[in-house]
Amino acid sequence: MFYREAGQFKTSYAADQAVFPILQDRFFIALWLAIGFVLVPLVSTEYLFRAIFIPFLIMSLAALGLNLLVGYCGQLSLGTGGFMAVGAYAAYNLCVRIPGLNPLVAFLLAGGVTTVVGIVFGIPSLRIRGYYLAVATLAAQFFLDWVFSRVAWFTNNAPSGSVTAPPITLFGLTFESPVRKYLLCLAILVLFAVAAKNIVRGRMGRVWMATRDMDLAAEIIGIRPMYAKLSAFAVSSFFIGVAGALWAFVHLGSWEPLAFDINRSFSILFMVIIGGLGSILGSLLGAAFITLLPLLLNQLPQWAGIAISTAMISHLESMIFGALIVFFLVVEPLGLARLWHIGKEKLRLWPFPY
């Protein structure tokens, strides 16, 4: 009933090919955008902005980037943390070495640098796939970690290897307050999500999906595997690089290579798998699940007024979190996005299912 598209006639090709062909979807998206841009800034506290929304938005962007590579093109990557580090350190070096550079431009250029690095580390994907590619990208992760903690030039010779981001100023506005930082991240995420949605609907996305589903068949029908795979690495790395720059500049403010270690790679890969491979919505859902659930679990006993020791809470957090990951993968291996799809199908028929 809620999702019944009966009566919505498409009278032009443009309407038929719209991103959201169903009226209800457009309504929901508009509602979410209104909530994100208007309601949340009005009602949220500083804690919610800084500890919940900003990390969630940035991680969504990173998960989105990885999803393009893993979910749409089928190339498994464990180097996400390393690529985020490339974005972060590239933005830092650009800002430090080119005085007066607009940080937004620095973020985009950092994305560009990450694209180049991503293509270089994507080259092995031309010859190997699956687990072997995972190992090759794992090497990228360790190599990049090593570079940033060893080569002093990248950290501007900081004695401790920890660097501090300069303040973000755009068009005369300083992005110091949590609300502004939040809006900046949200605006970037929305722009990138729209771009991603259109990329995967277009020629490039189809090329990727064909490669993912069967690369030999794709090659036979005329898709160049080199173009398909490297373009996926390039676009995905661009997203991840921008996310890394945001994570460093907006969220942490000051960071060391440990902030982008192998655990970061794993957690973003988990976001993509739990959220749903090959789904834009899934990236957001997965990021919410992985970043927010541990915090929720950690604070739940206190809200409920149960006195448990700090150590016990953190052990429980790991156990319940792990159990929930397994649970969700068992009940719906295709991810949270798939659950939403099932829900949508049910809402179409409700209240008269047959």
Binding site: R50, S160, G161, S162, H251, L258, A304, T310, S314, E332
Partner: protein, 442 residues
Amino acid sequence: MEKIFSPKSLVLGVAAAGALLAAAQAFAQANEQFVPALVYRSGPYAPNGVPFANGFSDYLTLVNERDGGINGVKIVSEECETGYSTDRGVECYERLKGKGPTGAAAFSPLSTGITYALTEKAPVDKIPLITMGYGRSESVDGSVFPWNFPLLGTYWTAADVIIQYIGQMNGGLDKLKGKKIALVYHDSPYGKEPIPLLNERAKRHGFELLTIPVTHPGVEQKAAWLQVRQNRPDYVLLWGWGVMNSTAIKEAVAVNYPRDHMIGVWWAGAEPDVLPAGEDAKGYNSIALQHSAGQIAVHADILKNVYDKGKGAGKREEVGHVLYNRGMLNAMLTVESIRTAQGKYGKKPMTGEQVRWGIENLNLDQNRIRQLGFAGMLQPLKVSCNDHEGVRHARIHQWDGAKWKFVSDWIEGDNTLLRPMVDEAARKYAKEKNITPGCLKG
């Protein structure tokens, strides 16, 4: 599936969580001082994090139980588990900073990475950071870092004292010429922090410095100790943490490196570091920045007022361990800073801004230290805007197989060497961040 994810139960769940949140926030009461504690009781660093957290918590309980709070203002504390990870630490900081009637008094981040991240946030929120013996070494300069207080020495001070001690053992610092000193360090900002100072000392005295990094968390160090075996340095400085320390001692045994030529930083000189290595750890040295192992007057009070009432955070027999004492010292300095602030602003809960004034004007003389029950552990300290360290004295202690005992007298960090480095690094930071150096008033 729809049974598990019925929308109704979801709505109810969210509503219930919201109600609980509201109830929790209504608990805040008037005459209380909130003191947050960032701890790590789980993860690879837990063996060291737990005693520290216990010492911190027990001292606060002692002040509440024995004195009824600070001038009648009860202390409420809440722990938040950071697991030594920077993003979790930032989340904990955001979670705790606004609690209590006046917000958090001061944060002790207990991790160099978290300290670096919070250094950006503290001036905005006006909450001081007490980074006792760790954090940014250049934050000694209070005109550039008004909110950071590396009380009782920094890593640079610690490294300086260790080199002076090695000099003493060899009959003078000039005798270090041509010697080889290796730094085996945890590969993080924490481990890299002493390198500039050691380079400076190496230049001055003509010894050779080898820097050997060990990857976090440090359970795999074969390669590092192979380098030690090849180069045979005269001394090994260990800048390790958690499981890395006991592993390092075992590896030293494996390559037959004499333990009495190893000197750890204060994070690498507690019972959890040497006990797992057993008999092999005998002779291993470490620096003690003021804190010492064993019990003094204040411990008797803790046992009587906290443990006898069943309110202790840890095990009774661990009271007086090295890191327990360190945590206790950290809590004491926080409490005394609040007390100092109350002297100026009145006997009520203090805001972070007022506590900052209290730390900057903290002055503990011999007499006061005796009153507090810390005689024998602490040297008199006086903090000022120019000197956020307060005191630069430290001793070296050695593990004799059963307990720590001191092998050196008090050694003072050489300020003629430290200060120019602090000034230069602070100036560089101020320039990068567009800060005009200046002391804060009030």
